[in-house]
């Protein structure tokens, strides 16, 4: 039977270098994922802090048998950010494109498209495959059935479903961490570093709603798409993407792996996840074709 693989997606948050090192070293040694994305995707201003640590992390991940994917910025703006993308695109490793900016530099060489790139249908997927798209992780708002429709029309592409983490919902030219602290983006003082999973945004009636992470807005709740492997395979899903959080990600990966290996059913896996220190409650509406904020249907 075809196996569904696990990917650790790129980290969205601003973690200090030491935390990055510890986190990825443990992933390299213990997490049952075969592919790990590294690199900054949300804010180019953070890159000088993390850039020096990545070579060491990549080396350790590869030594641990992981395939490393170099992720690129989702909303490049400055000359320096565009240059950083161009430099990553010539790498021999797999590269993740999160903005069309990277496409001309990477066209013809294999790449992954991340959920920031608008792949909504098989025609777009096929077009990108002709340019080198190898794996496509569509926008989070697409349901399992829709991703399955793309997969069945494009057997040459590996379709990856965003399966765990706060949902990346929006990007802006404005930094909300800076705005909240009365600062401007250009002199932001990196206040986003204080919130390793983003900062929760509640409604005035205290409903848990969103989370801010610099220029990014995420869901407050944690998306957990847990399906029987036969369901995923029937839809042509070849990978699940787990998005890093400040929780026991090795346990998260083990939990997903156990569901894919049929040693644990989705229901009990949800229970295991809900016992971890996650930043929000579990939701999975998007995967079921509903509003993304809808909680799992319990049977």
């Amino acid at each position: 039977m075809t196996q569904v693989a696990l990917t650790l997606g790129p980290l969205f948050f601003h973690w200090p270098a030491e935390r990055l090192r510890n986190f990825y070293f443990r992933i390299a040694d213990e997490a049952p994922v075969d592919r790990v994305h590294v690199g900054e995707v949300v804010c180019g201003k953070r890159m000088p802090f993390s850039d020096p640590i990545w070579p060491e992390i990549i080396e350790r991940l590869e030594r641990g048998g992981k395939q490393v994917v170099l992720s690129t910025l989702a909303a490049p703006a400055t000359v320096r950010e565009r240059k950083a993308i161009a430099e990553l695109c010539i790498d021999e490793r797999l590269v993740e494109i999160n903005d069309i900016t990277a496409l001309p530099a990477r066209s013809g060489k294999p790449f992954v498209t991340g959920p920031f790139l608008n792949v909504y249908n098989e025609a777009t997927a096929r077009f990108l495959a002709r340019h080198g798209a190898h794996t496509i992780c569509p926008p989070v708002e697409l349901s399992l059935g829709t991703v399955g429709t793309i997969a069945s029309a494009c057997p040459e592409i590996e379709l990856e479903l965003f399966a765990f983490g706060r949902l990346p919902l929006a990007l802006s030219g404005r930094c909300y961490h800076a705005r909240l602290h009365g600062l401007h983006k250009d002199s932001c003082q990196f206040t986003c570093e204080q919130d390793p999973d983003g900062l929760a945004v509640d409604t005035l009636d205290d409903q848990s709603f969103l989370a801010i992470n610099g220029v990014q807005t995420l869901s407050a709740e944690v998306h957990a798409a847990l399906f029987e492997p036969v369901t995923l395979i029937r839809q042509g899903i070849r990978r699940l993407r787990l998005s890093p959080h400040d929780c026991d990600m090795v346990e998260v990966a083990r939990t997903y792996r156990s569901v894919l290996d049929e040693t644990q059913d989705p229901e009990s896996a949800r229970f295991v996840l809900s016992c971890l220190e996650l930043p929000g409650h579990l939701v999975d509406g998007y995967a079921r074709g509903e509003a993304g904020s809808r909680p799992p249907v319990t049977t």
């Binding site: 530099a105 608008n118 909504y120 077009f127 404005r174 509640d202 509003a291």
Partner: protein, 333 residues
């Protein structure tokens, strides 16, 4: 691309009567969409049937105006036909250009209708020379509608680096998120701009009275609260009041609208080809008033009038609502 010709005023036409109003008020171009999910203003009571579009094109052309057709949502997987059909209809009606964001739609236009001009929708969020260059090379896109994240200085630099025309939003509603890359609406309410052409869908809105006043909610999420007697606004997701850390307020954006009328001269200097007025959901009275004022303002700018003179022309447009120049001034970030 920098240009020395007269700036084009691109105006909204949510309905055939708004199209006629915009043309008569001096629009160089009007933009509109079909009455379905293929356009990003898919609201009840708006938009055009194929026959209305054909009539609209005839009317506009007879008065020397152009018609741009927005097919700017993302085609549904397994059901891309409605988007292809919309593109075919726009071309056969004699539209001067199609405004698209989805690679599937752009590819269909480029291969099936190479003689119809293609404009890249703001929903494609192309903001760098590399991404704009890609769309120009791959699909022969001739103009890019700029994401509302660039300062006017950045627009000037961009225009020096690209070979296609640029169009900048100058007035109307303001998205604070990068358009085409925002899923907030489907997260809360199940329908979104990219999938359905709708943001913060009206059928999910409720105004609930309680002891403290009125809660304006979207799919049950409180987007804002109003004291008893205070007029309640529409609960657009990103313009609500929320709590984060120890603060409460408009975390994303105040309930403001864009008015960059004072920057028309700066846009011209930055090499912008066309100025776009948002507002396909607006009636013909509003369209007439705004287009007429901007017609005067653009003509004044072309004749070398100074910014103060232009400001006085546009002053009448302030409806008491708060306005911003948005990202065009760097301080917004």
């Amino acid at each position: 691309m920098t240009t020395s010709s007269r700036m084009e005023l691109v105006c909204p036409a949510g309905t055939p009567s708004a199209l006629r109003a915009a043309v008569q008020a001096g629009a160089d171009s009007v933009y509109c969409g079909f009455r379905d999910e293929t356009n990003a203003r898919n609201f009840p009571g708006l938009n055009f049937s194929p026959q209305e579009l054909a009539e609209g094109v005839r009317f506009a052309h007879a008065h020397g105006s152009k018609v741009l057709v927005a097919i700017n949502t993302f085609a549904r997987a397994g059901d891309t036909d409605p988007w292809r059909r919309a593109a075919d209809t726009a071309a056969s009606c004699g539209a001067n250009a199609v405004i698209a964001a989805d690679i599937a739609v752009l590819d269909h236009m480029a291969t099936q209708h190479p003689d119809t001009r293609l404009h890249l929708s703001v929903q494609a969020a192309a903001a760098t020379p590399e991404s704009i260059g890609f769309y120009a090379d791959a699909f022969n896109v001739r103009r890019v509608v700029l994401p509302r994240v660039l300062s006017v200085q950045e627009i000037a630099a961009l225009n020096r680096a690209i070979t296609v025309e640029t169009e900048a939003f100058v007035f109307g509603g303001l998205c604070v998120m990068i358009e085409g890359r925002c899923y907030l609406s489907s997260y809360a309410a199940g329908r979104s701009p990219n999938l359905n052409g709708v943001c913060s869908p009206p059928e999910m809105v409720s105004y609930d009275e309680d002891r403290d006043g009125t809660a304006a909610r979207l799919a049950g999420f409180t987007i804002d609260r109003y004291a008893p007697g205070e007029p309640a606004g529409y609960p657009t997701l990103c313009k609500g009041r929320f709590k984060a850390g120890d603060k409460a307020g408009y975390l994303f954006e105040d309930p403001v609208s864009l008015n960059a009328g004072s920057m028309i001269v700066a846009f011209r200097a930055a090499g912008v080809t066309a100025l776009k007025i948002e507002g396909r959901q607006r009636g013909k009275g509003y369209v007439t008033e705004v287009v007429r004022a901007f017609r005067k303002a653009v003509d004044a700018a072309e004749q070398g009038e100074d910014a103060t003179e232009i400001d006085s022309i546009l002053a009448s447009l302030s409806e008491g609502g708060r306005q911003t120049t948005g990202a065009y001034r760097k301080i917004w970030r």
